[in-house]
């Protein structure tokens, strides 16, 4: 008799804990050092939406919990933390990271463990390209999309003679190739005068800029990223580069690049981004900015959009699946569209890449902010910047 009571009690315990079980999301990202400028926004944007949903009773009556782990930009550490999140914390979903090498490792891990991985902020096209699999979702633009978007935007401008310059590592070359290959397809008469490649962390951009000016190109494509953007823009301002030659730099118009420079940032720089807090001027975006601002006391940067959209896809995915189940979630997410501050966004079923539109703008001083903003914004729709499914299949060797 005693045994029966005990078993019944244990059963009751198991049942009750199953009822209360939350959906667990484990975020592995670099929260120390310069990268935290970007990653804190992803986390905060994600939290903003999750808090709203939990406040309204959760998804299908289940709350969403999330924990973060600092990878310190190290692949081995991040991978270890991700494994620990899966085994010890029993997370249902993995999310992160700005480090492309770690994101690719997590893409492999997710396939092995059959845990969905939502890749936020890493710009490697391989994540939903050759390394893509059923469990990986690309939640932001990548080098291929940025290259295509820039080409579409630049093809509309009158420039013919180009110069390419950038960081001599994967991101730099990937962006430059992406822009140039697509630009040549769209506008065959473009001509490449020359290229310069500098080492990452180059201390002095002045000689590179003066040499480019001497070649007299119509426009320059600058393929530099991360922390090198700020000193490059400074050198551009000091040499008057931006006044002599228009140049494109992918992340030049992003808040994280322009805010630290204040009024010192150069005007007339062409840049592309997935998001500005001041654009598009829609009610959806305004209410997103307001709630982010009131929660964290700062305007949202592009990372906040990635985090917010990721949370929204997860929530809507579970709702559509009608059940907290991984495989059903993945099926539900394929070709699903959700509303976002930048308009409706679709998760392409074939490669699990969110079809983010890209905004191309030119830096300009404005009275309302103490930093420059992007003006003359042109929207390049998501379907125009996506690599074709044939290209994806070729990359995956299918």
């Amino acid at each position: 008799m005693k045994k029966v009571v005990l078993i019944a009690g244990m059963l009751a315990l198991i049942c009750s804990s199953a009822w209360a079980k939350a959906i667990k999301v484990g975020i592995v990202d670099c929260y120390s050092g310069p990268a935290s400028t970007y990653t804190n926004d992803v986390r905060d944007g994600f939290k903003l939406y999750v808090d709203q949903v939990n406040g309204a009773g959760g998804v299908l009556g289940t709350p969403i919990e999330f924990t973060t782990r600092d990878s310190k930009f190290k692949v081995d550490l991040g991978l270890r933390e991700a494994k620990e999140l899966i085994m010890r914390e029993g997370v249902d979903i993995l999310m992160g990271t700005i480090n492309s090498a770690l994101a690719l490792a997590l893409a492999d891990l997710s396939a092995k463990e059959k845990i969905p991985f939502f890749s936020t902020f890493s710009k490697s096209a391989k994540i939903t390209g050759e390394k893509g699999n059923r469990y990986v979702f690309g939640m932001n633009e990548n080098t291929t999309m940025a290259g295509k978007a820039a080409a579409v935007g630049l093809a509309q401008k009158p420039y013919v003679k180009y110069w390419i310059a950038g960081d001599d590592y994967e991101y730099g070359h990937a962006i430059a190739e992406g822009v140039w290959d697509n630009l040549k397809k769209l506008k065959p008469e473009v001509e490449l005068l020359g290229q310069s490649w500098w080492k990452v962390g180059e201390p002095d951009f002045t000689p590179y800029i003066t040499a480019m000016l001497a070649a007299k190109p119509d426009a320059v494509i600058i393929a530099t990223g991360g922390r090198d953007c700020v000193p490059f823009l400074k050198a551009a301002q000091a040499t008057g580069f931006n006044q002599k030659v228009p140049f494109f730099m992918h992340t030049a118009t992003e808040l994280s690049t322009l805010m630290p420079l204040g009024q010192e940032a150069p005007e007339n720089v062409i840049g592309t981004s997935n998001y500005f807090f001041y654009y598009p001027e829609t009610a959806e975006n305004k209410s997103f900015v307001e709630s982010f601002q009131s929660a964290y006391g700062r305007p949202p940067k592009v990372g906040a959009m990635y985090g917010y959209v990721t949370a929204k896809f997860i929530v809507e995915g579970y709702k559509k699946a009608g059940k907290v189940d991984t495989e059903k979630l993945i099926d539900a997410l394929e070709d699903m569209t959700v509303d976002s501050p930048v308009g409706p966004l679709t998760m392409r079923g074939g490669d699990h890449q969110v079809m983010f539109p890209m905004f191309m703008g030119i830096t300009q001083k404005v009275p309302e902010y103490d930093f420059l903003k992007a003006s003359d914004i042109v929207t390049i729709p998501g379907d125009q910047v996506m690599p074709s499914m044939d290209e994806i299949k070729a990359a995956r060797g299918q």
């Binding site: 201390p203 000689p207 000193p231 301002q237 000091a238």
Partner: protein, 298 residues
């Protein structure tokens, strides 16, 4: 193709000027390193860390005084002096007791100093990078040879000869300079004639480190002030003094000129592979003259 498209006389002149302004920074830092190496026989790996500290202090002082022109000029003085003070403490506290040890021990010790200084910078300023603006008068550019040239680089260009002359005066016209040169050649003999060698060594070390701090302060408005800027400069300056002749200040000037000019002219002539040029120049010099261009004091 790049060669023909780019190489006009005015572009070359412009590029040489840019190279010379970079040379100024390299010379200032390398001459300090060379001075310490020549007189004290210390291959000071921590020289780059002192340069980094100089840049961070410049940032902090300039920002503490409101980020204006006054703050910047004051920081240009305060930062090297503070770096010199740190080096004085290190020299009196530790180095003084180590002069008799072999080079390898000294090298290891200066290496451990780089680790200590790096963590110190991380503790004080954190891991984020900083960005400083030059004062209003040095912002923007002037047009030389029909091409824009940053005012700040012009300032560096004018400062270079001043520092070189100052060093020449110090080593040739002052008593301490003469003693230091003598000590570099034969330190026992200098001691034997009744000169306090320890004090001379201390002064030379402090002057050398002051130059590292000055280099860091001068470079602050042109680049990111960040962890890791010490590695880049220490490699370059060691190459420069090896090319020029260890311990020879004019060798440091020559080495800095070779490094700065091959870098900037290389960028003009063959921008795709520009990174290679200064290093190729170093290799060429060392193949022809393995002991450096000028007479080494070693």
């Amino acid at each position: 193709m790049d060669f023909a498209a780019n190489l006009t006389l005015s572009a070359l002149g412009q590029q040489i000027l840019v190279g010379l302004s970079r040379t100024t920074i390299l010379f200032i830092v390398a001459s300090g390193l060379s001075l310490v190496l020549g007189v004290l026989r210390i291959p000071n790996l921590a020289h780059g860390s002192l340069y980094m500290i100089g840049a961070f202090v410049t940032y902090s002082v300039a920002m503490a005084l409101g980020g204006g022109a006054f703050g910047f000029w004051l920081a240009l003085i305060v930062a090297p002096v503070l770096v010199a003070a740190v080096s004085f403490a290190v020299e009196r506290g530790i180095f003084r007791h180590l002069y008799d040890r072999e080079h390898l021990m000294l090298l290891l010790f200066t290496f451990s100093l780089t680790l200590v200084f790096n963590d110190m910078v991380k503790l004080i300023w954190g891991a984020d990078y900083r960005s400083l603006s030059p004062p209003e008068v040095l912002k923007g550019f002037v047009t030389i040879f029909g091409l824009p040239f940053p005012r700040y680089n012009l300032f560096l260009l004018m400062l270079g000869p001043v520092v070189a002359l100052g060093l020449w005066w110090l080593t040739n016209r002052t008593k301490i300079g003469k003693i230091a040169r003598a000590a570099a050649v034969d330190r026992e003999m200098v001691g034997a004639v009744g000169i306090n060698v320890s004090r001379v060594f201390s002064s030379v070390f402090v002057i050398g480190c002051f130059l590292a701090g000055l280099g860091g302060a001068l470079v602050a408005p042109t680049q990111n002030i960040t962890q890791g800027m010490d590695h880049a400069i220490i490699i370059e300056t060691f190459l420069i003094i090896i090319v020029g002749g260890l311990g020879n200040i004019w060798g440091a000037l020559l080495g800095a000129l070779i490094f700065g000019l091959t870098d900037s002219v290389g960028i003009l002539i063959c921008p795709q592979f520009a990174i290679v040029f200064p290093y190729a120049a170093v290799v060429t010099v060392l193949l022809v003259r393995p002991k450096g261009l000028l007479k080494s004091t070693w």
